[in-house]
């Protein structure tokens, strides 16, 4: 760990990395910046942990990471979902390592059998007498498996803030929960379930390149010409057979012209949250699935059902590191591993009470677009890795985000802008600078 680097305790140097219309390459290549991101950004932001359908019963747990911190999300005996640091308070051993399991009423460390309730509190220590009159009661070990700073469960979606103090969930997300709400409401029962199996895709690039890409609407027709463009061509050469295969229907909108993306708009909320696809999107023109509309109309009434299904947002970013597609029921997590290494997890959700055909489409989309075996994924990853290599050179120092910059955007919230604006990226970089520096002390 570098305590004497260029940026630690130097908020001015960090602020200088983000200009109105360009950002410095150190955001992507500096390992010191990466470590500070873990301490300041990922510890003070509300970060997605998991979905409560992954832990349906008391004692069920799911292991994951928040920033660089291994945590375990567990259903406590009182039925609430808790998030604990995955570290025994005795010698530091990771207590559980399976991705999923059921621990019963307590966790038991496999090293010395110390036990912890599912709220993290220390339950038992073998040979307890040996700790009498040792000052044990005032040691850190008494803290047990330490809970994270704060947890919020929004209709099944569990977020946490590692630091005990900081911005509230409501203040952090503002109006942006509407995308998750829309995804949930697309179930006639208002209920989602995580589908077993997650696509895990290793990217040798910085995590922010993936965030950036989610609102980058000037790349699909270029980078994905090779995949989506070829899919359309192969289908046309076969005589455009109807009904159009589901896969072609999913691929084709990627190669829509610039005008399509310009018109669909981008909405920018505060704190780096926002979405592409305000009035239209690449998910707007999918075929109807028999039985779905009827189920929705029965559940919500015609008007409300139309409202829910008419909201066809494209990519919604919840800063810092997830992207949600409501109309297709996927959620991607960009897990930072190092300045030049990111693990992308793509999760799929089942709309409870909807026909299976929707799940079939969700899963097809996920493997065609987000898998390590996906041709669309190959297109994107090649670009990220080339960008990472390019930024590691000593040629130019800045990454451009000037497209459709308007100084007024720095004041507004809940703005709707041209669909090819880089305004959401700029808002994310401003949020980045704010979180990186707001609690950082200045070296004397």
């Amino acid at each position: 760990m570098s305590n004497t680097g260029k940026y630690r305790n130097n908020p001015d140097a960090i602020r200088a990395l983000v200009r109105d219309n360009e950002v410095h390459k150190d955001l992507f290549v500096s390992q010191e910046i990466f470590e500070l991101e873990m301490e300041y950004l990922f510890s003070n932001a509300w970060v997605y942990v998991g979905h409560d359908s992954q832990v349906p019963n008391p004692g069920d747990y799911f292991t994951t990471t928040v920033g660089d911190q291994p945590v375990v999300m567990v259903r406590h005996t009182d039925n609430t979902v808790r998030v604990l640091h995955n570290r025994c308070s005795h010698k530091g051993t990771q207590v559980v390592t399976d991705m999923y399991g059921n621990t019963g009423r307590f966790f038991r460390c496999p090293y010395h059998a110390w036990t912890f309730k599912t709220d993290g509190s220390l339950l038992g220590v073998p040979l307890r007498k040996g700790y009498e009159n040792t000052g044990f009661e005032s040691t850190e070990a008494m803290k047990g498996m330490q809970p994270v700073g704060a947890v919020h469960n929004h209709r099944g979606f569990v977020f946490c803030r590692l630091n005990p103090q900081g911005m509230s969930f409501e203040e952090y997300f503002g109006d942006s929960m509407s995308t998750l709400d829309n995804m949930i409401d697309r179930s006639p029962e208002g209920k989602l379930e995580v589908v077993p199996g997650v696509l895990r895709y290793l990217h040798r690039c910085n995590w922010k390149m993936l965030v950036d890409n989610q609102s980058d609407t000037c790349h699909p027709m270029v980078a994905h010409e090779s995949s989506a463009g070829t899919a359309v061509k192969v289908w046309e050469e076969a005589g455009s057979p109807t009904p159009k295969p589901m896969a072609v229907e999913l691929f084709a909108p990627f190669v829509s012209p610039y005008e399509f993306f310009e018109k669909m708009g981008i909405r920018i909320w505060k704190n780096g949250h926002g979405h592409t696809g305000v009035s239209d999107s690449i998910h707007a023109a999918y075929s109807d699935i028999p039985g779905y509309w009827e189920a929705m109309e029965r559940a919500y009434g015609e008007q409300r059902a139309r409202e829910i299904l008419g909201d066809v947002r494209h990519n919604t970013c919840y800063y810092p590191n997830i992207m949600v597609k409501g109309p297709i029921q996927t959620l991607r997590v960009f897990k930072p591993l190092a300045a030049n290494l990111t693990l992308v997890e793509s999760w799929a959700f089942r709309l409870v009470g909807a026909p299976d055909k929707l799940l079939e489409r969700t899963l097809m989309y996920n493997r065609l677009i987000n898998a390590p075996t996906s041709v669309v994924g190959h297109d994107d990853l090649e670009m990220y890795e080339r960008a990472q290599r390019g930024l590691e050179t000593r040629a130019l120092e800045w990454v451009n985000v000037a497209r459709l910059y308007d100084p007024a955007e720095k004041q507004g919230t809940n703005l709707v802008v041209n669909g090819t604006s880089e305004g959401l990226m700029r808002s994310q970089y401003r949020t980045w600078a704010q979180f990186m520096t707001s609690s950082m002390e200045t070296a004397k």
Partner: protein
């Protein structure tokens, strides 16, 4: 139709791998039945390719897209091109497999493999087994389903761009 021998089935699997290693993708695709599928499960012991997540589950149209894409001028993830190599254990004919029915011209063959995919200076090794469901047709044996199970199907991978 002449009777399909064990050796025919074994030779079919070897030839299929060789066509991939020699990048003769169009010929390779012709080995699939018109309603054939290539499947790479995401879960260990996965039973359903449609309602459970998979790495790949592709019909001939999607396989054709992949093949045309590989040779496209603007397929930047293939600059430089990838190459692959299959090292196969002797294929084993699964006579007790529920899909095997020699009387109806259906055979199931299991083949353990090590597969290497290389691009530029890097290469990756994958290990697992392939289960071919083959069907006898007027044109010879065709692939009904090629299922590729990786021992670490749920691991984090970089790009896998060719066919195992």
């Amino acid at each position: 139709m002449s009777a399909v021998t064990d050796n025919d089935l074994i030779e079919f699997v070897y030839r299929e791998a060789r066509l991939l290693d020699e990048q003769r993708f169009e010929e390779w695709l012709q080995l699939f039945a018109d309603d054939g599928y290539y499947w790479m499960p995401l879960l260990h012991d996965q039973s359903d390719p449609v309602l459970q997540g998979s790495l790949m589950y592709e019909d001939k149209l999607l396989l054709q897209v992949r093949i045309e894409r590989l040779s496209g001028q603007r397929t930047y993830s293939q600059h430089p091109r990838s190459r692959c190599h299959h090292l196969l254990q002797r294929p084993e004919i699964l006579r007790d497999h529920p899909d095997a029915n020699p009387a109806a011209g259906k055979y199931v063959v299991r083949t353990a493999f090590h597969y290497v995919e290389a691009r530029g200076d890097e290469q990756s090794l994958y290990a697992g087994w392939t289960t071919h469901t083959l069907r006898e047709t007027a044109d010879g044996l065709r692939i009904q389903l090629k299922r590729v199970d990786l021992i670490n199907c749920d691991a984090a991978f970089g790009n896998i761009q060719l066919f195992m």
